[in-house]
Symmetry: C2
Subunit: 641 residues, 2 copies
């Protein structure tokens, strides 16, 4: 980083070891070094430049992304980096890995790894999203030719949404209903040459484990997207000044306004919270794989529900958070050069398409290339409904031998939690981890129990589930938020070295939990978990935590270790030197202005019919003003460079 650091004052204020925090954020020293090396490699490679993107047409953009993808693949091969090109189409490869037979794996994996084939995932049809059983495409076995005849009989059966990959793929993994001798077997694999259907030897559970893998990746990606936006908004909030000047002193930094803090700092805390819950999910997944190896499926249902729910809430928080960060940057946040509009539009599908390892690993911009959106966006509710079903099942098993485990274990204490009333007396009480966790447990348990009770009033459980689905979704959200809060607190039980690092994380953890409590105070009050007074105390504590975290804010986003290239945001520049770069790089919004004084020029007559042509002089750089006898109406003449 050359030149003056406009944020040096901010960095000097930090009361913790940023270097250690970088390692905590990355997950381990090894992960940090790998990611650091990768990101600088990419930042310094001209093939990965991004600055010309806003002016490219869609087709040029598409081609540029392909060029980058190919270059990334070559790089990975050359440098023997830990990663492989197939991760460019993350849905294609894991699905084959999970559902393919040994023979199929041997045929396709080497081709994929050598990039001899490019595959896309063709499940969704124009008229059918997540309901796989409703797919209309059929695969009819023809024993004469030993081939399958694929047929999409109607317009609505058109395979849809493989995204950019659909345009360049050489192969597709197409989902279809199997037909043999006019009999419809549904979506299945494996038929003998004689035309006999043979159920797959691959256990169905393994395909669930792929889903778990993909979803935990999505949670991880949510932490990256959100932290990226938070990094931009935090740095710019420290640079930008507005109002509050007294006797010629500089105006107040925007980050010092309480309303700014109350919106920004919870997002900073959320980025860390999502990061740590994704770390936990990863270890959960590793444990799951080990269990599956020995045919132990006991944690699979929980993994399934847990990842579905966490995917839903973290991707929503990230998407909303990016948009909020854009607003926190004021008008300039709307500029393409702020990096936020593109981050938002690229993230929206990213929170749903499955994985994009290389994209994130190499921190390049392939958003326009990949994009298996499926209809997963509408799965937000479906995923939460899955969690709700899992919760209702757990409650129904309370009196059986098959008691709730893992993240639902607290429901075993449901009876006790139903009687819970917080005993908080002072604001500081809300800093105690067990006080917070108990309140979140009681809220989640009471909401779930109320749903279970209301469900029992319906003769047909399906009707009840449909009727009460909005309440069930709210209970599922409460449960998922409890998980995130608990895992953040668990993280703090670990041994974390480095001056002040653990203290910072404790502050962020409390901000995260108390912000959620404030946002959902209606839940906590209506379930009787807390009193209005206790709610006010939590709010009071929250405000004082904002003041506490303020001096460390810039360093806490530095800890993400993002390069300026990755952020691709003038507002989020590491050195805070925002305005000159904004002036140079703004290529998308018109502006009127000039360096130094305006010069007097002759009058310019413009005929009304000529203005369309006139406007084509778009490449002017300087604007010269004719000053008449008015102060505030001045003539502008565009001059060519």
């Amino acid at each position: 980083m050359q030149g003056v650091d406009h944020l040096a004052d901010e960095r000097n204020k930090a009361d913790f070891d940023v270097g250690v925090m970088k390692i905590v954020w990355a997950g381990s020293r090894h992960a940090y070094e790998l990611s650091h090396r990768f990101s600088h490699l990419v930042a310094n490679d001209p093939v990965f430049r991004k600055d010309n993107r806003p002016l490219l047409s869609r087709k040029e953009l598409f081609k540029a992304s392909l060029r980058k993808a190919f270059h990334a693949w070559k790089l990975i091969k050359q440098l023997r980096l830990n990663g492989h090109p197939s991760s460019l189409w993350e849905m294609f490869v894991p699905a084959i890995k999970a559902q393919g037979s040994e023979e199929q794996l041997q045929q396709w994996l080497p081709l994929m790894n050598k990039m001899k084939i490019i595959g896309c995932y063709a499940q969704t049809e124009l008229g059918h999203g997540s309901n796989v059983r409703g797919l209309e495409t059929t695969a009819t076995f023809d024993p004469k030719t030993d081939e399958f005849v694929l047929n999409s009989p109607k317009l609505t059966s058109t395979k849809w949404w493989p995204g950019g990959l659909g345009k360049i793929a050489t192969h597709a993994l197409a989902h279809a209903r199997l037909i043999i001798d006019d009999k419809d077997y549904g979506v299945h694999a494996q038929v003998t040459r004689e035309g006999k259907y043979v159920p797959s030897e691959v256990p169905r559970q393994l395909s669930y484990s792929t889903m778990v893998y993909v979803r935990q990746k999505i949670v991880f990606d949510a932490s990256i997207a959100l932290s990226r936006a938070v990094c931009i908004a935090t740095r710019y909030s420290a640079v930008r000044r507005q109002f509050g000047s007294q006797n010629g002193s500089p105006e107040t930094q925007v980050i010092d306004y309480k309303t700014q803090q109350a919106r920004l700092f919870p997002l900073l805390a959320s980025a860390y919270a999502i990061r740590f819950v994704s770390e936990w999910l990863k270890s959960f997944y590793t444990d799951l794989l080990e269990r599956l190896e020995v045919n132990d499926f006991c944690t699979l249902p929980e993994a399934h529900a847990c990842t579905a729910g966490l995917k839903s809430i973290t991707t929503s928080v990230a998407a909303d958070g990016i948009e909020e960060c854009r607003k926190l940057c004021g008008g300039h946040g709307y500029l393409t050069s702020s990096g936020l509009p593109e981050l938002f539009s690229v993230y929206i599908p990213a929170c749903t398409y499955e994985g994009d390892n290389v994209v994130m690993l190499l921190q390049i911009d392939l958003g326009s290339l990949v994009g298996n959106l499926s209809c997963l966006l509408c799965q937000l509710m479906e995923n939460l409904t899955q969690v709700a079903r899992h919760l209702m099942k757990a409650i129904s098993h309370l009196n059986s031998e098959n008691k709730p485990i893992g993240t639902t274990a607290y429901l075993c204490r449901a009876e006790q939690l139903m009687q819970y009333h917080s005993d908080v007396l002072r604001a500081e009480d809300w800093l105690k981890p067990n006080v917070v966790v108990e309140a979140f447990e009681a809220r989640a348990a009471k909401m779930s129990m109320a749903c279970a009770q209301n469900l029992s009033k319906f003769n047909n459980p399906d009707d009840g589930f449909q009727e009460l689905s909005p309440d069930l979704v709210e209970a599922a959200i409460a449960h998922c938020q409890l998980i995130v809060v608990s895992k953040f607190i668990d993280k703090l039980q670990q041994d974390i070295p480095g001056k002040g690092v653990k203290q910072q994380l404790q502050v962020l953890c409390s901000i995260y939990a108390l912000f959620l409590l404030h946002k959902h105070v209606g839940d906590f009050l209506s379930t009787g978990c807390i009193t209005p007074e206790q709610g006010s105390l939590a709010n009071e504590q929250l405000r004082s935590l904002y003041t506490q975290v303020r001096p460390d804010a810039v360093s806490l986003v530095d800890a993400f270790d993002y390069t300026d290239h990755f952020l691709s945001s003038v507002l989020g520049r590491y050195d805070g030197n925002v305005y000159p770069k904004l002036y140079e790089e703004d290529i998308c919004c018109g502006y009127v202005g000039g360096k130094g004084s305006y010069k007097h020029v002759g009058d310019s007559k413009i005929e009304e019919t000529k203005w369309i042509e006139y406007c084509q002089h778009m490449d002017y750089q300087n604007i010269v003003l004719k000053i008449g006898d008015e102060l505030f109406v001045s003539k502008i003449v565009c001059v060519k460079d």
Copy 2:
């Protein structure tokens, strides 16, 4: 509308007179006829076609928008329509009208009206947004030449954000600090030829009235943007089916899912609520103008605070609502052809730049042309803070002669409202207008009073205001929501003819109010306005209202009377014939598919190094699959048309 109406069943279900509702929505029969005529005129004029927009480069798009603007202007002149071209740059003209002297008006208005000049508004500087006093550009009077020398001394003083107009304007309204003989007069007008500063003869209050005008237009525009998105999402939710098929019956319409209803119907109700509050604001503004004519400034402070607050909350609801509608359309909502992504990105600044009369009136797409963003986005909080100041002032005057009036009149009953506890016993009680209004009044009053009390603890009121600003903002929101709810209820006191029209509006009004109550139940509970049981009853009533409004939903969006051209959304088509058009019009997302059966073709060998070139065959239309001995992995070859 030709062909089959796929939504005919939905339209037959409606239990009210849609024709009359169209007039209610438009505000009057005259307004309806005008808007109907305009929108069909535009829809049938080839110059205004939009279908090629997604593939245009930024420069082409800019030129196309100019062409449309110019054509719109000619049309207005030819047809002597009620509107004038100057409204293309709404900030420039009203500002001159409000702040210009008689002489200035005579010089500039005719030129503007004949489009001999094109003006932009150059207030904001690169480093300064809403803080006009902080502007750095100076205008120094030079008595020798009788000219002002404008100087933007620093990079941060560069005039910024006139948007697209900055590129084509012939004139700019530039804000600068007046300097005479080295004395800095701040931002002011009018200097004599001898170099003597003369305060403007235009009363300062008149410039406030422009702001009131502009803001009430923004609230109106919010109702248009939100209703447009709601129209698309509602129609598509009735077309789209997913899951729930039994014994070969069609799948369930998405609109029948309770979770969909709980997210969609409040937005439908909000569109109507915002519409009616904007109607009220318009009459408030007319009244204000009449008062100002006779130097009666008594309603000005309220108008100022009221429009600031309503602008903030309605634009946020609209922006968030558009995004929510996109999610409600599942994956297809992300397609450009859904119309929602562009609506969102164009609306975001639209909720802040001032007006765009022609754009909305003629319903064309000038989003890329106009765009005086200023730094108004970050004014969300500032505006609400203004409201909060107004509320605190009203409370401080409670015991004086200068008692709160208009929308703050309820604060006169503060003492009584502080004792308020809702007496709701049954769910139906929540349908009574006075029950709802009282609860909202009590909540707003209690929140404001609590703020006033906490403020009084600070020695320095400014410190207190800064420290408590997040709470003050929440109180301001509660106050503004009360206004919207009250004005909706007031509307229902009017004589509204037409079968079932008033009944529908009553349902929507209750949905709006009870949805807000549910969303902010924490406020109502913590202020003791309602008990948790009363909150549950409100929720129960809300659910039953969703069921009630369901059969009328499609007709309620038909009442907006939007043409397919205006919606420019395949998903929101009037006839509901979504899929064939989606297939034809999708030009932005890759897809894999084919009409009819896939054909067997020869193997195609693709070398790994060739794939970049290969992908350039982007203009294929058909995809042919080679079927191997696998079911789900099939080779795809792109063939040129």
